[in-house]
Symmetry: C2
């Protein structure tokens, strides 16, 4: 293992022959170090401008060592997408646990989101950054995962009694709107100064209000019967006009 004098070199995975640790376990650790190094380097740049040498240096190995773990940067990026969404799915599971009235469900959901953004800041930042930017392979992978999320949420919604007669299309519409609102909220939290709890409370308040406004619209929705097109002009909003 190389002694790298550089400041930004991550603590080396020093071989300690005295302590028993398998070769494959050490390999796993180095792989982890590469992923972690990449996540941290994304502070104020996008994945597309990250170099293989930088990531290797930051993980404490020589550039050529990188290839023992990944084919190239794109493969590492896809591994980061996997890792990040494992985190997000964990969040969804805890969010599903509670069963409450609308107001409390909204509050609990936003609170869970905020907590997870703090606990897995680097994963959320990575997803937010690469969601719309740069490397096409990453963008596609992330959009697929988000679409999956939205679909699962639509299924959850379908089980709620007051949404029982909604068409699948309309359920997807709501779940998409909810997911977008949550994404937008997560991005706002990531952008807020980390040492400004007042700004964060503001963001939380606004997010709760947005979700509440959406919830208020639900009982007045006239479920469309199917995914049939051509219904233009048949329905009239009896809302404000």
């Amino acid at each position: 293992m190389r002694h790298n004098g550089s400041m930004n070199a991550r603590a080396a995975i020093t071989p300690r022959p005295s302590i028993a640790i398998t070769r494959s376990e050490r390999k796993r650790q180095t792989r982890e170090a590469l992923l972690e190094a990449a996540l941290e380097l994304l502070e104020d740049r996008s994945f597309g401008s990250l170099s293989l040498r930088e990531v290797a240096r930051s993980a404490g190995i020589v550039p050529t060592g990188f290839y023992r773990h990944f084919d190239g940067m794109e493969e590492l990026g896809l591994a980061l997408v996997d890792e990040s969404f494992r985190t997000l799915r964990q969040m969804i599971r805890s969010a599903r646990a509670g069963r409450q009235d609308t107001t409390n469900a909204i509050r609990a959901s936003v609170a869970i989101l905020v907590r997870h953004v703090h606990e897995h800041r680097l994963h959320f930042r990575f997803i937010a950054r690469e969601r719309s930017s740069g490397v096409p392979a990453l963008r596609r992978a992330i959009h697929n995962e988000i679409r999956l999320f939205s679909s699962e949420l639509a299924i959850d919604l379908a089980r709620m009694p007051f949404l029982g007669d909604w068409s699948s299309e309309d359920l997807h519409m709501v779940s998409g709107l909810l997911v977008d609102t949550m994404v937008s909220t997560a991005e706002a939290i990531l952008d807020a100064a980390p040492d400004d709890p007042a700004a964060e409370r503001e963001i939380v308040r606004m997010a709760e209000k947005r979700l509440l406004l959406i919830a208020l619209g639900v009982p007045r929705w006239r479920p469309s019967t199917a995914a049939s097109g051509g219904e233009r002009g048949e329905r009239r909003a009896d809302g404000p006009s």
Copy 2:
């Protein structure tokens, strides 16, 4: 002017001494060519991974010529933000023109958005790409502009009779939600295959539904009296529970 044999070299701004054209006008054209070249190079990468030499080459000038127009890539990026938002403000102006009932206002707004995304595809793509990614200076500039947008929309909303008694905070909440929905819709249109009108009609339908659902919530909203905090638990949703 250099004869560049490269395929991706943009049509050179050939000096035609016979036709009268001022030096400053030709400079303006070259500047324009640089901006345009950068916008087009962003097809499937982010601004942060764009090189000065690439942009210059693509605009048909030598790398050193770049500095006659911009200090460096960041300054060019900020010029693109300016240019793009001039486009967007133009869109908003046309959107404000109509006065109709909710359903038609929604349909008209989405239609205007879709038309502008098509007409200024590169500008929208640039903003969508760089909104959350890469270069901090660009991200900040774009977020400021979007916040401005949202504030102007809030002022517009305040003029509507059925929103007369809403607090400024609540108006900003709605306008933020509307802007986010429009941003999300624009991104969906940009991502859809350009030769797939059915996919686009789907996106439009969903966007209209989202906006309608939000509009349906509006009359049931109980306006909060001020931006005072600490109202937690005082309000109960009478919505679904």
